[in-house]
């Protein structure tokens, strides 16, 4: 482009306006190239900051204990010790923790999806006195710090004899799954045209059939988003199991990992191997359903 405007400038009589224009263009294009280069450099530097911890974690997870403590540290483990994974997982009683975590996440996910859909449908599509006030209450509970209700809820579960069981970790999800999920589903239902319901009702669909046959098949993206957030939330939840569970046979992975760290203080190869395994399902889920993550996050930000 620069050469083209040069040629143009040379070919014509020394019109100063043309020369100035071509100089301006040249400067503009140089500026743009510099700007672009700068953007890429910053983005690449940022990417290193984002990715290096993962690579570092994997590298350490495969190192021998001696190789862990070298300075300066090396990136390529020498020798590669795959046994770190099996040894760390065995020491932290991984199978029990995994079973408990799966139980909690699956129960909470199923209960949360079912009830949040139901409640959201009620708010989006039916009219009843007090609906607007109740919806405002729902929004307000999203702002409520959970620490305010934490102690009384603990006392409830304690009186039920549920301390040191898995129930307190998922039973709450049966009551709408959390205000945030209800809100998300309700916003999604609001985007679906009401004519769909009316046409279905005309064809003899009842209230439940409209939800089940018409709205839900159209709501897969929102359902997926809720499912992903619920899974991640319960998988990574630390404070709830910390409060309710105190014996290893009832622990989830998040809490088990913390206990494991208490025992293997400085054996970073084991700690990194275990941490990596605990993170892995979330990472895999992200790569399988990346668009739902991004959509879901963006959707929540758009509501305002």
């Amino acid at each position: 482009m620069t050469t083209a405007s040069n040629a143009e400038g040379l070919g014509r009589p020394t019109g100063s306006a043309v020369a100035r224009l071509s100089a301006l263009r040249r400067r503009h294009s140089v500026q743009r190239t510099v700007w672009r280069a700068l953007v890429y450099v910053i983005l690449l530097a940022g990417s290193v900051f984002m990715l290096a911890p993962y690579v570092w974690m994997l590298s350490t997870a495969l190192k021998s204990p001696a190789a862990t403590f070298t300075f300066p540290p090396t990136w390529i483990p020498e020798p590669v010790v795959w046994a770190n994974f099996t040894e760390a997982l065995e020491a932290m009683q991984f199978p029990i923790l995994l079973k408990n975590t799966l139980q909690v996440t699956v129960y909470a996910l199923a209960g949360g999806l079912l009830t949040s859909t139901m409640v959201a449908y009620g708010f989006a599509r039916t009219r009843f006195p007090g609906r607007n006030v109740l919806f405002l209450v729902l929004l307000a509970t999203m702002m409520l710090p959970s620490q305010v209700t934490m102690i009384p809820v603990y006392i409830i579960y304690k009186n039920l004899g549920w301390v040191d069981t898995l129930r307190p970790l998922w039973v709450g999800s049966l009551f709408g799954g959390g205000a945030f999920y209800i809100f998300l589903m309700r916003q999604f239902f609001m985007t679906l045209p009401r004519e769909l319901d009316e046409a279905a009702a005309m064809d003899g669909c009842g209230t439940v059939a409209v939800l089940w046959r018409i709205l839900l098949p159209l709501s897969k993206p929102a359902l997926a988003t809720v499912a992903i957030f619920s899974f991640m939330g319960h998988w990574n939840d630390f404070m709830t199991p910390l409060i309710y569970v105190n014996s290893i046979p009832k622990m989830t992975l998040a809490l088990g990992l913390h206990i494991f760290r208490g025992t293997y203080q400085t054996q970073w190869n084991y700690l990194m191997a275990a941490s990596l395994v605990v993170m892995l399902p979330c990472l895999i889920l992200f790569f399988l359903a990346q668009n739902y993550f991004i959509q879901g996050i963006a959707l929540t930000g758009m509501k305002a």
Partner: protein, 314 residues
């Protein structure tokens, strides 16, 4: 959302005017559908909130019945140096960390919005750390921040800087946690990116016609246009930041010398390690009031800097 509420108003206006069979059955369906949440609201929110107010006025250790002490807990709290320390730690983490995270998220989103090639790849990379959270991340960063063998200090050593002792030093521990929180900037970045892509193109074209520079366009078009998202991100970040717990508990257990004693960590200790349930309830209500005050402040200020589409700019 504003539109949705408007529709609701119109519809519910005539409700009591003409109660028909179908309206009644629709209302019954409505209550039935929201009943799980309604029951949960009573059992897990409204009831506990009332009980928590009561507990905060008692001394209670779970063993014997709560003992009424009036406002004693609140007076004790105001004189408790650890409460002030934990408030200081949490305030620094919030008022230093949140602006850093919000500005960084916005900058990255703006860079990615520059018709960058491989944008989806960069977006994935920057979002990736937000996918993981909790204990595993805390342990990973303990290793990265390790003074002798950690990644960060060895990188600093490469450029000739002797890194501090990070989590082991009371002067740097909190700052290290703020740096660590920057790693999870991706979630907010995605919100900003969506907002940036929603800025109407004709605004930029109009600015071009007036000969606005890149900086002017950013300041006068982009920033006001995405301000509703900034507002949302800011409020959510502040609320989340006040409730930070896992990092402080797992990485430093509040130390060294209480320099990372987050407010919720101190609350947890009182409730579940010292079994001071009454006192911890009072702490929870103070947290609630602080969060509400901050939210209200941002909300109040929003009239000055948040523009909604269709609203006339002053």
């Amino acid at each position: 959302m504003a539109q949705a509420t408007a529709t609701t108003h119109r519809r519910s206006g005539g409700f009591w005017g003409r109660i028909r069979q179908s309206d009644l059955s629709e209302a019954l369906w409505g209550y039935f559908l929201i009943s799980p949440w309604l029951v949960g609201l009573l059992i897990f929110v409204a009831g506990p909130m009332l009980y928590s107010v009561y507990l905060s006025l008692t001394r209670y250790n779970l063993m014997s019945a709560p003992q009424w002490v009036g406002a004693f807990n609140y007076g004790y709290l105001a004189a408790d140096p650890l409460v002030w320390q934990s408030l200081k730690v949490t305030a620094i983490y919030t008022f230093l960390g949140v602006p850093m995270r919000v500005v960084l998220a916005l900058l990255v989103a703006m860079l990615l919005n520059q018709q960058v090639r491989a944008m989806p790849l960069f977006r994935t990379i920057f979002y990736l750390p937000s996918v993981v959270s909790g204990v595993a991340v805390a342990i990973l960063w303990m290793w990265i921040l390790s003074p002798e063998y950690g990644l960060l200090n060895s990188a600093l050593a490469k450029v000739g800087i002797t890194g501090p002792r990070w989590l082991m030093d009371q002067d740097t521990a909190l700052f290290a946690m703020i740096v660590m929180s920057l790693w999870g900037v991706g979630a907010n970045m995605v919100i900003f990116l969506a907002a940036l892509q929603g800025v109407p193109q004709h605004l930029y074209e109009a600015a071009d016609v007036e000969g606005a520079s890149r900086l002017q366009k950013t300041w006068h078009v982009t920033i006001p246009s995405i301000s509703p998202s900034t507002f949302f991100v800011l409020i959510m970040s502040i609320i989340g930041s006040f409730q930070v717990f896992t990092q402080g508990f797992v990485m430093t257990n509040g130390g060294p010398n209480n320099s990372t004693l987050f407010y919720v960590l101190y609350l947890y200790r009182n409730a579940f390690q010292l079994l001071r349930m009454g006192y911890a309830s009072a702490l929870a209500w103070v947290l609630f009031i602080i969060i509400m005050a901050c939210t209200a402040l941002v909300l109040r200020s929003s009239a000055l800097w948040v523009y909604y589409e269709g609203e006339l700019k002053k």
